[in-house]
């Protein structure tokens, strides 16, 4: 099963499958049914972050350095959490500017500087080539282990020529793959659909393979996680295996690694490629923001169990980096190691594919093209031919050669140096190099004042410090340089020791390097920017980058105001992009009004479009150089764009103020509306009140008029009838005047003009007097009145006449609603805390919970709960104003009036509560004279 032919056919069969998938995805894309138009595919393609380093190296790192391996994945989690803000902005900038790579991004931000682009490309090439080598090393190593196990592979490369090294052939196959699917279009800012589909597929493969190993380890080799952890705990070497003590640099090293991983995730060329350049829809970022971290969590879940199990295996000759492979081999599995090998292969190839595309784009657009454009060779070429797209082939050719060279460079590095480093070391050194891009990129996206000079010095200083503190010491440890450099410092100067720069000792080397390099980097960026000036183009680009999220600035590009003809533009475009593309760009401009003669001058918009098309293929810096070469006169109208931007920001500020004003106005008008609403409501209530008053007044008036007319018109009326009718007229007249009195009281109460004459009085005495006053009427109605008052005085402050009116009203009310037979009313007075409570209850049907507040509404006529008409038969109806007036009076005296269930008689109980009169100084009180 593990014989070489089988392994080779599996490996190359897998690569063939990638070709099929990529070809299929490209076919689908051409048919307009894209496979990669889904946020899930986007998230999976980001998982190209997990390379062979993750696949093999995580376990190795966990076995040696405890939980620190997780930092490499927690960092990207942090970065993705702000992805909907940060990455969305990067994507929007990239789309507007036709950005092809991170070198292009930084170059475009700082005034389309070709020098910056070249610098970034060089740093990337220097920093990332070892990372590619790392992938090849992983393939070679895993292949060797698989075929030679249990013998430990030594000197893998030394005993055989490169043609026997399978990773060489893998690199070649990949070169073909990348050339086929990575350089289909000249426009590098366009998406590589086939490649992305293949990458997403590879992400699934490596996940499945790793989970398979993990599951088998935990549940087949051991009896679940409990068993594994118990045995690991018993192993003396593993007691501290999971604690922070294992982490290099302790807590500080922990933070350093977290920062490093966060920055590198955003700036590694392949991550920039999949996150930004290959993004098809901004909204995919939302899903990826949590799905990609979830992928990282899942693929890491079995790292610790596998690492522990590997150490428990106890074979000291096994490298922890290969536990993933040796564990199933040691357990005697046959198929599983092969699956693991494929998983590792997929992790390695995925990384190499994307990284190589990104690097080759940078190398061709930012290193080779600028050189060619400056040399006389291009101009010679233009003179020789009429411009029929001959350069298109050249451009693609350059990129393809770059691909092959980069992969070969990686292979050389692997073959010559690779053995000296462990997997993890190479990866982290690369991370630290990529992190140097972060200040220029991230600060440039938010700080308009960052200048080209600042970015230049930042990158150069940062990468120099990186080289001195990480790269060169690495060489020394590999034995190519004198170790004395590490121990004694450069030229024997103690504070120049690379791992303890300026005497900073006791830090782990990565945190140490990151600290010094970022300090130099950010310091130079900010410091130099503050003391250097931006060119007009820089100012424009800086504004376009920092304000990218502003909707009005979308796609706003500087316009060319110089003169050129359609013919010249066409010649330029077709030379670099091919005639069909050139025609498509020129035809898109309908404003040319059909006049396509070569001598017609090109519109500024058309020139801008031509520049963007060239930028997509050649990068922003080269595109500008090319357009400059055909446009005469004042080339770029930067003032216009800058003034637009400035106007826009002024307008934004103005808008903000206007918005605030309008918010205030809205609030005021809302308040006005509410007041108006309230007035209208009051008006309605007043209308209703007037209608009710008139209704109430009309009723007694009707009887009075009717009987008056009857008395006038009936001459021979019997005396008793006549007397009865006159009684009615008198009674109704009294009712009418009482009603008018009440209405006036109510009006005074509501307007606050009711004049009270408060004095100290004995409520008990007043209650008894009021009861006496109504006694006779009550008896006539067949109602028994019982009065319970304390013998001692109940002193309150009140207006005696008004309070008497209230008590009589309460008694009158109660008698009306007392039971038809043997109606009973009870008046009681008692002290309650600092108050006197006067309660009047009856033995009537009581008042329902819902009605209790409504009885205090004006003109509210009680309906009895038994559905009969309001008062018991034979008792007069009230006006419906007594209770509201009573409550108003009591409230004016600082008391309360409310309804409860009667405590002794079972009917309704109205309770008036008044505050006790304050203790009196007998000497000074005028009330005490009697």
């Amino acid at each position: 099963m593990r014989s070489d032919p089988i392994m080779l056919s599996v490996a190359f069969g897998y690569l063939a499958l990638l070709f099929v998938i990529a070809a299929w995805a490209d076919r689908r894309a051409e048919q307009g049914r894209s496979l990669i138009g889904s946020p899930t595919v986007y998230a999976l393609s980001i998982a190209v972050y997990c390379t062979a380093w993750t696949f093999y190296g995580s376990v190795g790192r966990a076995a040696v350095y405890g939980p620190s391996f997780l930092l490499i994945y927690l960092g990207p989690t942090l970065a993705m959490l702000v992805g909907p803000l940060l990455i969305r902005k990067m994507v929007r900038i990239a789309r507007a500017q036709r950005i092809t790579s991170i070198a292009d991004f930084i170059s475009a931000r700082y005034g389309k500087s070709d020098g910056l682009g070249a610098l970034v490309a060089l740093i990337a090439l220097l920093g990332i080539t070892p990372y590619i080598a790392l992938q090849l090393k992983a393939i070679t190593l895993s292949h060797a282990i698989l075929t030679q196990y249990p013998a430990f592979p030594t000197d893998i490369l030394a005993d055989a020529g490169f043609w026997n090294d399978k990773s060489f052939w893998v690199a070649l196959v990949l070169a073909v793959f990348i050339i086929l699917f990575g350089t289909r279009h000249l426009d590098a800012s366009e998406r590589h659909e086939g490649m992305v589909a293949a990458i997403a597929f590879e992400s699934l493969v490596k996940l499945v393979a790793f989970l398979a190993v993990g599951l088998v380890t935990v549940f087949v080799l051991y009896n679940g996680p409990g068993d594994l952890f118990a045995r690991a705990a018993a192993h003396p070497a593993l007691a501290q295996a999971l604690s922070l003590e294992r982490v290099p640099g302790g807590a500080l090293g922990w933070v350093g690694m977290l920062v490093l991983a966060t920055l590198a995730f955003l700036t590694l060329p392949r991550q920039f490629q999949v996150l930004v350049v290959e993004n098809v829809d901004e909204d995919h970022i939302r899903r990826a923001s949590w799905l990609f971290p979830l992928y990282l969590l899942v693929i890491n879940i079995f790292v610790i169990p596998v690492a522990l199990a590997g150490v428990l295996l106890g074979d000291a000759s096994l490298s922890p980096d290969s536990f993933v492979l040796t564990l199933p081999l040691a357990a005697g599995f046959d198929g599983l190691p092969l699956l693991v090998f494929i998983g590792g292969l997929s992790a390695a190839t995925g990384m190499m594919i994307v990284e190589t595309i990104a690097l080759s784009t940078m190398v061709s657009n930012h290193l080779i093209m600028p050189l060619l454009l400056r040399s006389s060779w291009i101009h010679l070429g233009s003179r020789l031919s009429g411009g029929q797209g001959e350069l298109t082939g050249w451009l693609l050719g350059i990129r393809r050669v770059a691909i092959v060279l980069i992969l070969l460079l990686g292979y050389l590095y692997h073959a010559l140096i690779g053995d000296a480093y462990s997997l993890v070391t190479i990866g982290l050194v690369s991370f630290a190099a990529a992190a140097q891009f972060a200040p220029a990129m991230l600060i440039g996206m938010y700080w308009r004042g960052a200048t080209r000079a600042g970015a230049f010095s930042a990158l150069i200083l940062g990468i120099l410090v990186w080289a001195y503190t990480l790269l060169i010491p690495g060489f020394a440890q590999s034995g190519w340089l004198d170790m004395a450099l590490l121990d004694d410092g450069f030229a024997g100067i103690d504070w120049l020791r690379p791992y303890a720069l300026f005497g900073l000792e006791g830090w782990d080397i990565y945190t140490h390097s990151l600290f010094w390099s970022l300090l130099a980097n950010v310091g130079a960026l900010v410091g130099v920017s503050l003391f250097s000036r931006q060119s007009r183009l820089e100012q424009t680009q800086a504004a376009l980058f920092t304000e990218a999220m502003h909707p009005e600035l979308m796609y706003r590009t500087p316009l060319w105001h110089g003169q050129t003809t359609l013919g010249e533009l066409h010649k330029l475009l077709s030379r670099y992009l091919g005639t069909p593309t050139a025609l498509r760009i020129l035809d898109g401009d309908d404003r040319q009004g059909g006049d396509t003669s070569a001598a017609h001058s090109a519109s500024p918009a058309l020139i801008a479009r031509a520049e963007r098309a060239l930028a997509g293929a050649l990068g922003n810096a080269s595109a500008r150089v090319l357009i400059n070469s055909v446009v005469r006169g004042e080339a770029l109208d930067l003032n216009a764009v800058l003034s637009i931007l400035d106007t826009t920001s002024q307008a934004l500020e103005y808008n903000r103020r206007l918005e605030q004003k309008s918010r205030e106005l809205t609030q005021i008008s809302e308040a006005l509306q509410a007041a108006n609403e309230r007035l209208r409501e009051l008006d309605r209530l007043k209308d209703e009140f007037v209608a009710m008053v008139s209704h109430e007044l009309r009723t007694p008036l009707t009887s009075i008029r009717a009987f008056a007319e009857i008395l006038r018109d009936s001459d021979n009326l019997p005396e008793d009838k006549r007397h009865h009718f006159l009684e009615v007229v008198v009674h109704e007249s009294q009712r009418l005047s009482r009603l008018i009195e009440e209405i006036l009281d109510l009006a005074r109460l509501e307007s606050g003009r009711l004049t009270l004459h408060p004095e100290r009085l004995d409520l008990a005495d007043l209650a008894r007097r009021s009861a006496d006053a109504v006694q006779r009427v009550q008896e006539e109605r067949g109602v028994t009145l019982k009065v319970d008052t304390p013998s001692s005085p109940a002193e309150v402050i009140g207006d005696p006449d008004r309070l008497e009116q209230v008590i009589i009203n309460l008694l009158d009310n109660a008698s009306k609603f007392a039971a038809d037979d043997q109606g009973r009313v009870r008046l009681a007075l008692s002290r309650h805390k600092q108050h006197w409570r006067l309660s009047v209850e009856d033995n009537g049907p009581g008042i329902g919970e819902a009605e209790r507040e409504r009885v205090f509404e004006k003109f509210h006529q009680l309906e009895r709960q038994d559905g009969g008409d309001a008062p018991a038969r034979g008792r007069p109806r009230g006006s419906g104003l007594g209770l509201p007036i009573s409550r108003g009076i009591v409230a004016h005296l600082g008391g309360r009036l409310w309804v409860e269930d009667g405590p002794t008689l079972g009917g309704a109980c109205l309770i008036m509560e008044l505050p006790q009169a304050p203790a009196e100084d007998t000497a000074t009180s005028p009330f005490n004279s009697d």
Partner: protein, 83 residues
Amino acid sequence: MNRRQEKARLLALAGLALLLFSPPLILLFDQPSTNGLSWLPLYLFVAWGAVIGMAAWWLERPDVTPREKPTGAPQEERQQHEK
């Protein structure tokens, strides 16, 4: 939920994650359990999962309408030119 609020929430969540993933909080969990192994990795996985869960919950709710985004070619160029 409006855009401003979502932005604030994401920033707050990232801040929370940073706090959960760094010292001194991780030091609290770097304690040996009964069998001697540290709780730290378990804590990290739980905190990590919780952060991912929260992000998923906020970002996947259907009521958030996608922000209008640029589609197709620039439109302003022409008007800009006609001044």
